[in-house]
Each structure stands twice: as structure tokens, then as C-alpha cells.
Amino acid sequence: MGRGTLEKLATIRRGELSAVENVQRALERIGKQNKKINAFIELNPKALAEADAIDRMLKQGEHVGKLAGLTIGVKSNINVEGLRATCASRTLENYVSTYDAEVVKRIRAGGGVIIGMNNMDEFACGSSGETSAFGPTANPAAPGRIPGGSSSGPAAAIAAGFCDLCIGSDTGGSIRNPASHCGVVGVKPTYGLVPRQGLIDLGMSLDQIGPIAHDVSGAALMLETIAGKNPNECVMLNVEKVTYADKLDDGLKGMRIGVSPNFAELTDPALMRVVDGAVEKLRDLGAEIIEVELPNIEKALSAYYLIVSVEFFSATRKFDGRKYGRRIEEVCGEEVLRRILRGKYISQKEYRGKYYQRALQVRTLIKQELMAALQRTDVIVGPTVPKLPHRIGEKISVSAMYAYDYLTIPANLAGICGGVIKAGEVNGIPVGLQVQGKVLGELEMLRVMWALEAAA
């Protein structure tokens, strides 16, 4: 347990499993089960050919990247040339990507074979996986329940064993939320660590692409592959490359782990019991548990929804139906339209100060609070979601849907990293522990996740 991805890689390198075989098995499994799970919208017709090329390189002893032969799922808001980046919307239903996103270039260079485009909430506007124009995604780990969102497809694909690794995007929790509900590993990197060139925007100052994996090693591997400065992009951190893989098992002696009572105030007791259990395990492993105060943490939610709406409104002006696709307002789903209209409303000249700029001030407050807490700790742990995932099809209010994001949003506002590792279950439904780290504190975050995974 926990070394699945690395084992798989080793068997491919040893020649015991060919890349082609790996792809064939994946396609077979997808063929049998995707209709039920709906984790993939489109499959890559060139996958076998690409795998074959990897096999040839391996046979000839040529250098192959660290993802050599692994099957990769890509969320449908990331451009893969030749495949459709639909964002699970009728707006871009027929948009065939005209270029590779930077992360896709790096995955290809790393020897990863792209299996297909994952399902998602439409334009990443959701936390349940129910709003796709191509039908909802199921939760393989908790049948009948939502898988979470908006990276519903990537998380479900991993949970269903459809592929080795996936990349999703996280703006307010869209990687971590489904990772928790589906019982898999998900990481939202520090803002600016991973290039966004080729990611279709939800909120430009909040979005990050990150890995969803079976295990922490897999997530670390993917992160190493996609992270690092992109000269063809302006807003990035000045980090050339990152390495985590060989330091994950350093242990937790001396690690200062923060917990906040403010989380419990927002979360279902059943979930908190699982979280508390995980915290105890971390204490047993040698970590120091420190209490931190995050008194304004719940205000992050509404501030986020104002900011993301303004940015999303701006981002969607290009979907006017003239150059490609359809005009978004004419064909999109409710939540997408809701955010566009909200953004349009509050970014008006006369309201900017009251809403948009005020929300940016609250952002400063949240960031300050988290940074202060992280001064005294290495990481902060807690629940990922405040409540268990509801049943698919269950009608819940808009605010009830937004409420899923309470605990994940702060990390996006502050720009820090956050990862999720399964901590237990409630009535058979997975519950993930969220581990938040400092800016560029991925290593400590991953070490904590790895330790918990190993102890399971």
C-alpha cells in the first residue's frame, strides 16, 4: 500500500509490463465501466501509438522521463492538442484544442501517455460533479454519492482504477474536495508553482493545476514533472524545479502540525471524529500538535465567491461564439450563468469598491491569518469538507452547495499549498484529511500525507 505508482513504474522499466499493455488494460477497464462512472468524456485515439513509442525507447535504452509508460487522465479544462477541451460545456463541445498546455508538454516529455479527457463540473463551477453537460460522474468509492467537484472525473478515474495519474485544477477546492469524497490523494500546489498556460480559466488569481493519484508518491512524482517556471507565462514563482520523491519518508519527528478549533465549528461531528483520529496518529508518529486560531476563516467563503465571479466573468468574455464554439450565455448551465451574472453585476463601476475591492481586502485578512498560523507551524491539518457528500440527484440549495468549500477556499485565497489524504470513513464514505502548507511548503505537506498513508 502506498507504493503502487512507484511499483508500476518499476515494472515498466524492468520490462515486465509494457506501456502498450498498461494502456490496453486501462482502455479495457474504461470500456467496461466508464459508462457507469462517466469519468471520461473523450479518449485519446493515439494512446496506443504513444505508448508504443515509449516502449521502443525503453527497449533501446534511450532516456525516458519519470512518468514513462504511466496512463494519465486530463481534466477537460486543460488543452491537449487534438482532443476536445470541452470544460464539460456545450459552449466548447466541439472545440478541438489547438495547442498543448504547458503541463501537458511536460507530461509528454516525462513519458506519460494521455489516456483521455476527464469529466468535470461545467467550467469548473461546482463542488459536486453533477453539473457536466455530459452527465454526472459517479463516486466509485461511495456508490450513489456525488464524487465531489469540480475535478470529479479525475478523482473518479483514480478511484475506479482507470489510470495511474490524473491532473485536475483547483480554484476553491476543486482537487481536494473530490479527492476527499473519493478517497484518493489530491494536491493543490502553491499558487504560481505550476504553469497555467493552457488551463481554461475559472479564477486566474486562484487557479492551480495539480495531481490526483492513488498514493502520495504518485502525486509527488506528477508534481515534480509539472512544476517549475515557464518563461512563456508572466505570473509564476521563480522556481526552476522541485524534488520531493526521495525525501518523503523522512518521518515526522519535530514536525509542528497546527490544528484549529475554528474548523470543528464548521464541520459535522462525524467527520471531525475521523479527522481527530488522524491527528492522534500523527502525534503518535512524533509530530508536535499545536493549536492555532483562524477566527475569520469562515468569511473566506463569501469573499471567494465575489472574487471568482468577477474573474470568471472576465475570463468568459472570449466565449462569444465568433472564433470557436458557442456564445456561453446562450448554452451554459445554471451555476455558470450565475457566476457570470454575479461577476458582471459586482464589477460595475459603482459597485467595485463595495464588493470586488472589499472582497480583495478580506482576502488580505485571510492570508494574514493563515500566514501567521504557519509561522508557528510547518503545516495545518483539518477536515477537507464540512459535511459528507450528498446523494447524486439530491436537490440542494445554492448556498448549501457553496458550503462544501468552506475549508478549502482559504488556501486558494492565500496562495498556499494544500493536499488531501484519506483518513478514514463514515458509513463507508471516504473522509480525507487536508494538510495545508506554507508557500512552497509542498515537501512538509507531502511528508505528513506520506506518513499518514504509511501508517494506515
Partner: protein, 455 residues
Amino acid sequence: MKVKIGLEVHQQMATERKMYCDCPTNYQDVPPNTNVCPICTGMPGSKPLPPNERAVEAAIEIALMVGCKVLTCQTIYIQRKHYDYPDLPSGYQRTSLPIAKNGKLYGVRIREVHLEEDPGQYDPTAGTVDYNRSGVPLVEIVTEPDMKSPEEARKFLRTLTRLLEYTGKVRPEAGGAMRTDVNISLEGGGRVEVKNINSVKGAYRALKYEIIRQRERLRRGGAVVRETRAYLESQMVTVPMRAKETEEDYRYIPDPDIFPLILDKVRVDAVKAKMVEAPHLREARLVKQYRIPKASANVIVSERELADLYEAVAREVDPKLAATWFRTKLKKVLNYMKLSAADIKFTPTQLASLLGMVKRKRVTPEQGELVLREMVKEPADPEKLLLRLGLIPLKKSELLAAVAGAIKENPNAVKDYRAGRKEALNFLAGKVMKLTRGRADPREVSKLLRLKLKK
């Protein structure tokens, strides 16, 4: 009736690459949608590259050229200006906060200067868009409404064009490198903005039309509402462009994909030190430094390369003679051959040498002009050209012989002249020119004839 006219001038800057992507900027030389990439066509998920540094530098220089104060130590965000139009690939234009303010140029106050990117080219009648031009770096110069007539506006634009070309940092004028939106209000009426103007002539005509239109409206007791209109070149009229009367809300936000700029004083000073001298300042200096007439200086500074050539030549030969020649003969030859000073291939030394020959009277001014024409066609040492053209200088004895000859051969003309018919002198002079095969100096010929005929 009091008229207030203001201008928003959009000038393309001379760079190899576009503002936010590495596509080439030579949009007029290539087929439609050739100089394009995911960024300048607004493909889903595309993000801008860091802004083009040369464009930023050029904008600073241009701002200084128009007399503005550059805003140093201020956070200059690149903003998204949102509006819906077919030529705007992302549905917003990236436009910076002002980089400079409060300038003055030729009596017109400059409100501010900022950085922009060009949209694509939309043909409103054909209904087509070409994104080759999308993303080319622009500098926008906004004036206060200080101009009081279309003529004033036209004059300002013409001199501004020349000034901008002087910097060497802008794309050449041909085909819309400079475009202007005009705004005009008459006393008692609202401010009308006119867009879709592609030339200085167009701006002039649009303004003239608007004055007539607005004046008529007000005269009839109607109201001139605040609106945006479009200029139709083919019909030379303006038509309403936007349905709403209220100002468009562009919903500006700082672009989250581009970090802001901070221009520090050191950098601005460096630009100041390197930049070319503005033409009106150079003109004044030439007058003072070389003691030449304003009229000559004015012609000399009309092109930067011409002024550079002049100052190089003036170092080697009499500046006053040089100035006269630049204003008359050189300009004449260039105009005749449809060349600009930038096209000149001969060296300052070669021209100075020629002027020296004229000064020493080794050649006549007319001969000099012939040599000059040759020199422009094919640069060479003027002595060589003199030989090639067969313009062997005339000896004094040859001239005297020719004058004597002409007098002898044309007794009737001599009689006419002595009888008081002045034009007979021209006839005789013509005969002398013929005898000397055009090599004589007409002034010398007239002088000698008059002398000889006095007896």
C-alpha cells in the same frame, strides 16, 4: 460657436514581436491570420507572455517626447478593458494605467500616455476579421480638448506624426500605424466621440462633418446627446455606433495574468539620455548654433536623417551654404526622385566635398545640382561624377571667347539690347550657354555681357 476638440491617438510601436506573444508584427505583409498564435487569437486557456520590454521603453520615450512627466515609483497595473467587438479576440483589451501625465505639445495639453495592444482588423462591411494585427504594441496619447477647429486638429496630428517618426520607435505611417479617435463638443451640446478613423485626412473630415451636423441640430432646437459615432470613410459622414447613450462600463480589473510595472527614475533618466532630440527643439538649436534662417532649419528638421546629414556636412563646409542647399536643391532632388532622407546613400563627406567645389566656384550651382542628382542615384566622389558627366569646368578665357563670339554672331540682338530691349540680353546669354555647352554660370554670363555691351 465655441468648439472643443480632443484626440486619442493610437500609435503602433516598432517592435519585432507582439506585445504579449512572440508573433511577428509585419501584419500588412502576410495573408490573413498568418501572424497568429493561441495568445493573440484568444484561444481558451491562453495566457499572455510577459510584456514586450522594447515596447515599454519606446512608450517611455514617446511620453517624454510629448513633454509628459513619467509616473515613477507608482504601481502601473495592466488592466483588462472589457467590451464586445469582433476584433477583440478575448473580449477585453489589455491596457495599462497611465505611464505619464501632464504634457504639452504645440500648444495642446497632453492628459496622459499609456500602453495598449492593437485589436485585430475588422472589416465592418464585409464582416471579416484578420487577427494578424491583434497584439501589436500601441501607445495611446490622450489630449485635453484644447483644439478649437478641424484645421488645428489636423495641424496637430501632422506635427505629431512627424515627431513620433523622429523617435525611430514607431512603425512607419503607411496604412494605419497611427489611428485617432476624436471627440468634439459644441457649446450647448454633449461630447461626441468618433471612432473608426484611419487617417489624418479622415480625422479632419470627420470633424468637419460633425461640426456641421451638430450645429444644425442645435440650431433647430434639438439636443446633441453624448454618444459614440463611427466615421464612414467612403461617404465622409459619421453614423451612430452604439445604441446606448450612457457611457460604456468597461469593468476594469488589473489583469491577474500580468504583473504590474514600476518605472523608477533611474530607468527614465536612462531613456532621456539616449533619446533623440525633438524636431522643434532641434530646429531652434540649428538656428542658434549655425546661424541659419528659421525657414532653412525648418526644412532640415523635417526628417531626422536629413538633420543628421546636415549637421555632419556643416562640420566640414560652410553651414550657411549647406543650409541653403539643403532647403533648395537637395530637397528638390529628393522630392523629384520620390525619396526620403533615409534613402540617401552618399556620405556627408561626399556632399561636403561637392559644396566645397561650389563655394570655390569650381562648378556652378546648376552644375552642382546635376552632380547631386547623380550622387543620389549612385554615391561617388563628386570629382569623379563631374568627369563622368563631362562637366569640365569652364576656363575664364573660354568664357570670354564665347561672350565675344555670341556678340559678334548676333549683331541684331546687340542692336536691340542697346536700343533698350532688355530681353535681348537673355537671347544673347542663351547663345553663350550654347557655345559653352551649358558649362557657363548664367550669372557670370549676364555680368560679362552687360560689361562688354556697355561700349
